[in-house]
Every structure is written in structure tokens, then in C-alpha cells.
């Protein structure tokens, strides 16, 4: 009787796990995002390209999770994993192309941390905030919400993933670039991640968009005050 009960319990657990795994195929993506955060926190060695990859993986994969869930759930079992993986790969390629521009700009331009270039630092954040409020950004955010899938070859979602990534870069790229070039503290990165995820799932996204746009210059102001008071700031806190 005990063995039968244990078998029944195992079977129930297995059914529950299978049920959750079917409903939430995006979990592996979230695990990858968590791994990227850990790598950032422990300051894993790497160059600017690796830093950009880690940053986009940590901050953008939680956003991409919903998209990957939609794609996987719309596919038949034999093609699901590949469809999800190729979507993610296309998405990351778009972000790495954007990263090439950001890394190149960082190398070409003078340092934009507050300590080194206060005016440049403030200008970058103000520009990112202004972009946040433009109709073009609103359109990009809307396109970022839509799932386009390759229906004929369902296992190969590179191009729809790339297209998705393109709109995601257009929506969030300037904010990400601002963080990358101004050497943003982890806490601000985490706050921005939460804000961008909230924008994707908010009851009224436009309100969150405005809050983010206000938060950016507010952060620039805060950084200025902190630096002037000599208690830290982005020129001092690096990751």
C-alpha cells in the first residue's frame, strides 16, 4: 500500500511538472537571464562585446520570454525546441548588431561617465528619455508586441526572431546604449529591467513609458548630486 501510494504521489508530481513545463516553455530563457545577471554581479571576465551580450541577455531575455512562449506554444512537439531556440538566436543577433554600434561608439567617443564628462553624461540620458516619448518609439513598442512566425518552416524562426529583435532594439536600444556608455550601476540596471518588463505587461503601457522617460533625467540629476557630494555615482561605481 505504501509503495502504491508513493507511486501515485510520484505520478501526480510528474503530471504536475509536465503540466507546468507545457504551460511555461519560457523558463529556460529566464534561467539564462538569471545566469547573465550572476555573471554581471561576479564581474565575469570579458571584453566590451561580452559585457554587451551579458547586459542584453540579463535585461532583454525576461522581455523575450513572453514572445518565445507564444512561439513554442504555437508549434507542434517535434519543432518546438528548435523554434524557440532560433527565435532567441535571431533576437540576440539583432541585439549584438546594435551592440557593435554601441561598442564602436564607446571606443570612438570620449568617456561619458559623469566623473569624466558630466555634460555628455546628462546629454546621453536626456536623449534616451526624449526617444522614449517619440511616436516612432511607441510604434516600435507596438511592433515588438506582435508575434510573426515563419509558418512554412516552423522550426526555423531566425528571421522572425531577428525581426522581433529589430523592433525591440528600436524600442529599448537607446536606453540600453545609455546604460552601456555611461557605466551604469547594477541597481539602476535592475530598476530599468523591472521598468521595461512592466512596460510590456502594464495595464496602460503609455503611463509606464512616461514614468521611464521621467526616471532617466531624474537618474542623471541624482548621479550629478551623488558625484558632487562625493558619495559615489556612475563615475565611481563600475561593474
Amino acid at each position: 500500500v505504501t509503495a502504491l501510494a508513493a507511486t501515485a504521489r510520484t505520478s501526480r508530481l510528474s503530471a504536475t511538472f509536465a503540466s507546468h513545463a507545457m504551460r511555461h516553455p519560457e523558463w529556460p530563457v529566464l534561467v539564462l537571464a538569471a545566469a547573465a545577471w550572476i555573471a554581471i554581479i561576479v564581474r565575469a571576465p570579458g571584453g566590451p562585446a561580452v559585457d554587451w551580450l551579458l547586459m542584453t541577455s540579463a535585461m532583454m531575455m525576461p522581455i523575450a520570454g513572453r514572445r518565445i512562449r507564444s512561439v513554442v506554444l504555437a508549434c507542434e512537439p517535434p519543432v518546438r525546441v528548435l523554434a524557440g531556440a532560433t527565435t532567441l538566436a535571431g533576437f540576440l543577433v539583432a541585439w549584438m548588431l546594435a551592440g557593435a554600434v554601441v561598442v564602436g561608439a564607446t571606443a570612438a567617443l570620449p568617456a561619458l561617465t559623469f566623473g569624466a564628462n558630466p555634460l555628455g553624461f546628462v546629454a546621453v540620458w536626456w536623449l534616451a528619455a526624449l526617444w522614449q516619448l517619440t511616436p516612432a518609439r511607441a510604434r516600435a513598442l507596438e511592433r515588438c508586441h506582435r508575434v510573426r512566425m515563419a509558418r512554412r518552416r516552423r522550426a526555423r524562426q531566425w528571421l522572425p526572431g531577428l525581426d522581433y529583435g529589430r523592433w525591440c532594439v528600436a524600442a529599448c536600444g537607446p536606453a540600453m546604449a545609455a546604460m552601456a556608455v555611461t557605466d551604469t550601476p547594477l541597481l539602476v540596471m535592475a530598476g530599468m529591467t523591472v521598468a521595461l518588463v512592466a512596460e510590456r505587461s502594464a495595464f496602460r503601457p503609455r503611463r509606464v513609458t512616461r514614468v521611464i522617460a521621467l526616471a532617466m533625467p531624474a537618474w542623471a540629476l541624482t548621479a550629478a548630486v551623488l558625484t558632487m557630494l562625493g558619495v559615489g555615482g556612475p563615475g565611481h561605481a563600475t561593474h
Partner: protein
């Protein structure tokens, strides 16, 4: 205060009964008010949708579709519209005070014999006294204002079983009465945008039938018949009853302006009791009868969906077709069927036989109004149409025109059809033959714009 009666517009006696006279006069006044006045028709239409993004007034562009908020949001929308009409009527001298105070929206019951066309007062170009008729809208499809084209029988009432489906479901592939559980969704939720059962038929089908302004999110409210159509859609919530209304959908507040311009915040669970909370009632909440023999056969073989427990068993796509293009002629396609996954079997403690089978028509896109509904039949193209194999109807209202990559998806319960085919030995476990047919009753003399269907999926649960 007793509840006001919302009545079937076709049952109102005589020509130009007082209720319709009052409505016509009110619409005439509202059409002339400046668009920033909440009582104006332009403002009311913009509450549903407007092409201008980022208007200063935060109460515009709010309609909810492909969502469990579709029904409650539109209920509140009608409620405030009705209050606007009464407020306007009180200022029109030729409207008796009691008519103004007791005025309630009539509903257009196209599912009842005699209701398959507009009521003539909505089609007439002139009022009873020769003035232009504000209830007339010249953008409607050919044959609609002439009362010569009737609503297709397949879209007159909800499809078989829809009134008994769960109100909502966490997975978009599960067909529902009210729409999938989403956040606030003015087309902003991640795809797929899947219409709920009631939203698909008769809601989208009637928008398609009337056409013109009624096919445009941002223009629909300009057609006075829009409000009567939605009143009928609202009535179906009362026909269905409230025993299984969703829980946990009160986290989202809808904003509306009242007749005095004041801002109101309301929630989905604040409108479930029409008499107690909103002071109106419908004169008829009897269950509708299917309009064709084939649909009656389907109704006879349906089983009740045991909802909450079933949600724990996730659905799975087991077959998917390539895309296809609809151009007004019947077109056939096959959905090849594969096997269920090991997870599917594990979630059912080893069972691989589905309890429910659904058909999803995915990512429907169009650039211009296709001008007709299509029935989706589980039949070869060479067979004659048999409504007992009609999975569902796809219509093309339901997304914002002018937005890139607009799309819409439908999900239909075909469990009873599959079971019937199995019993007669006509079920092929390797493929599902489908035919998309334009429905009779569509205004077929109009040009047909092509429709792109992304794919068709068969889903097991």
C-alpha cells in the same frame, strides 16, 4: 428606481415608435456637438478607437478586444453612452420628459425571425417629417440599407456550445465565451490576438455584414446601429448567466467620462448585475435557436466543458497547415496530424487520447475589407457545405485598421465533429481536410479583397 427595459428593436410597434424617434433626434444632436464634448458622437466613437495616438484625453482609444474584458468593457461603454443619450434627450424640447428619462438602448436581435435585416428606420434616408435621418449611414454594404441582403444564418447567433464555454481561459488556444485572460488589451497584448466565441460570432460577423464604418475600430461608433448591435452582444451575457463569471479580473479599471464630463473609474466585476448595478434589464434572455439544421445537429451532440479542472491540462498543437489565401472562392487545405508529446502524456498520467479537439485559424491578415465571412468546414472542398461540420466562422472586424501587422486568430471547439466523424469511420488520424467557404448572406456583389491566413492548427487537450 426600477430598471429600464432594453427591448428588441424589431419588436417595437408601428413605424418610428417614440423610442426610435428619440434615438434619431439624440444622434442628430450628438453628431453636431464638438468632438471634445463627451456627449458628441465623435467623442463616443473615439472612446472605442481613434487613429490619433496620444490624445490628451486619457479616455479615448480604449476598446477591449480578444480579451476577457471585451464583454464587460463594452457593457460599461454602452452604459455611459446610454446616459449621454438621455442627457441629450432632456435638452430636446420635442422629446417628452418621460421618454427622455426612461430611454434605454434597444437591441438588434438578428437571431430572431424577422430580425435578419436592419429595421427600416435605420435604412431610410429621411425621418418621418422629411429631414435627413441621423440613423441612416451610407457607408454600409450594398444591400444592407436596401434591406435586400440578410445576415448569413451561420452568424445570427453564437456558434453551438459557445454560450456554455468557460468565460475565459489562461491559454489562448482554448475556445472561450468571453475571450482569453489578458491584461488591458487595446491590441497591445502580445500576439496571438484570439477572439472569444461571442466576439467572433455573432459580433464580428455582424460588423462584417453591415460593413462601412462598422468595419473600422475608429469609425464603428459613428454608425447608430453599432450601439444596438453591441446591446445584443451584451444581452448574450445575460442569456448565458453569471454562474461561472471569471474571478480575479477586477484588477484592471476602465475609465469613462459621464454625461456631465466627470471621470469615472469602473471594473469588470462592477457590471455583472444589470439590474442592481446598472439599472437596466433585457426583455428576453431565452436561449437562441441555431438557424440551420446542421448547426442544430451540432448542438445536439455537445457536452458540457468542465472548466476549471480542465485548465490544469494544457492543450498542445499536434498539426499545422501552411498559410493560405482566401479570395472569395471556396478553398481547401489539409492539416497534417502528428503525435502528442511525452509531456502531454505525462500531464495526463500516461493518456494520449485528447478529451477536446480545437481548430485554430492563425494570424489572419488583410489590407482591405474582404467583404464577407468565411465558414471553416471539416470537409473536402468537393463536398457540398454541411453545417454539422462547420467548425466556425471567420470575420474580419476585430483589429485596428491602420496598424501594421494587424492580425486576428480564432479558436473553435471541434470535439463533437471529430467524435461524429470517428463514429462514422470518416476520421483520418493523419490529416484533417478543411474547406473555407464564403457564407451565403454575405454581400457577394461587392469586390473581394484577399485575406491571408497564416496557418490552421489542430490542438489536442
Amino acid at each position: 428606481m426600477t430598471a429600464r427595459q432594453r427591448r428588441d428593436v424589431h419588436s417595437l410597434p408601428g413605424t418610428w415608435p417614440p423610442l426610435l424617434r428619440a434615438y434619431a433626434l439624440a444622434i442628430g444632436v450628438m453628431a453636431e456637438l464638438p468632438p471634445e464634448d463627451p456627449r458628441s458622437l465623435a467623442y463616443q466613437a473615439a472612446v472605442h478607437g481613434t487613429d490619433a495616438i496620444g490624445k490628451a484625453d486619457g479616455y479615448l482609444n480604449e476598446c477591449q478586444h480578444s480579451s476577457w474584458y471585451f464583454i464587460p468593457w463594452h457593457r460599461w461603454y454602452l452604459y455611459y453612452f446610454e446616459r449621454m443619450v438621455r442627457a441629450v434627450l432632456r435638452e430636446i424640447p420635442e422629446v417628452p420628459a418621460d421618454v427622455a428619462d426612461e430611454w434605454a438602448l434597444p437591441y438588434w436581435n438578428y437571431g430572431k425571425p424577422g430580425g435578419e435585416t436592419l429595421r427600416p428606420e435605420f435604412a431610410a434616408p429621411e425621418l418621418w417629417d422629411g429631414r435627413p435621418n441621423p440613423l441612416h449611414n451610407e457607408t454600409r454594404n450594398a444591400g444592407v440599407n436596401e434591406l435586400t441582403v440578410v445576415v448569413a444564418p451561420q452568424v445570427r447567433v453564437p456558434l453551438p456550445g459557445v454560450l456554455d464555454r468557460p468565460f475565459s481561459a489562461p491559454q489562448t488556444s482554448i475556445p472561450t465565451f468571453g475571450g482569453p485572460a489578458t491584461g488591458w488589451n487595446h491590441g497591445d497584448e502580445p500576439s496571438p490576438q484570439v477572439a472569444g466565441g461571442l466576439e467572433g460570432t455573432p459580433h464580428n460577423g455582424i460588423h462584417q455584414y453591415v460593413g462601412g464604418d462598422m468595419m473600422d475600430f475608429a469609425r464603428a461608433g459613428f454608425d447608430p446601429v453599432f450601439w444596438l448591435h453591441h446591446c445584443n452582444i451584451d444581452r448574450y451575457w445575460e442569456v448565458r448567466g453569471h454562474a461561472t463569471d471569471p474571478l480575479g479580473w477586477d484588477g484592471v479599471a476602465f475609465g469613462f467620462r459621464d454625461a456631465d464630463g466627470s471621470a469615472q473609474q469602473v471594473t469588470a466585476d462592477g457590471c455583472v448585475d444589470t439590474v442592481g448595478q446598472l439599472e437596466y434589464a433585457y426583455d428576453d434572455v431565452t436561449r437562441p435557436e441555431a438557424a440551420t439544421e446542421g448547426l442544430r445537429i451540432r448542438e445536439g451532440r455537445l457536452e458540457v466543458f468542465a472548466e476549471i479542472a480542465e485548465f490544469e491540462i494544457p492543450p498542445e498543437v499536434v498539426g499545422q497547415s501552411d498559410g493560405l489565401r482566401l479570395d472569395g472562392a471556396p478553398i481547401g487545405t489539409d492539416v497534417p496530424l502528428g503525435r502528442v508529446s511525452r509531456l502531454f502524456a505525462a500531464a495526463r498520467a500516461g493518456g494520449t487520447v485528447p478529451r477536446h479537439v480545437y481548430l485554430m485559424v492563425n494570424d489572419i491578415r488583410w489590407d482591405a475589407d474582404p467583404g464577407r465571412d468565411y465558414g471553416v468546414y471539416l470537409q473536402e472542398r468537393t463536398s457540398s457545405a454541411d453545417d454539422s461540420r462547420l467548425a466556425g466562422v471567420i470575420s474580419f472586424f476585430g483589429t485596428r485598421r491602420g496598424v501594421d501587422d494587424h492580425e486576428l486568430s480564432y479558436s473553435f471547439d471541434i470535439t463533437d465533429i471529430v467524435r461524429a466523424l470517428r463514429e462514422t469511420g470518416d476520421w483520418d488520424p493523419d490529416r484533417v481536410p478543411l474547406t473555407f467557404r464564403p457564407l451565403d448572406g454575405s454581400p457577394v456583389d461587392q469586390p473581394t479583397a484577399p485575406v491571408q491566413v497564416g496557418s490552421v492548427s489542430v490542438v489536442y487537450q
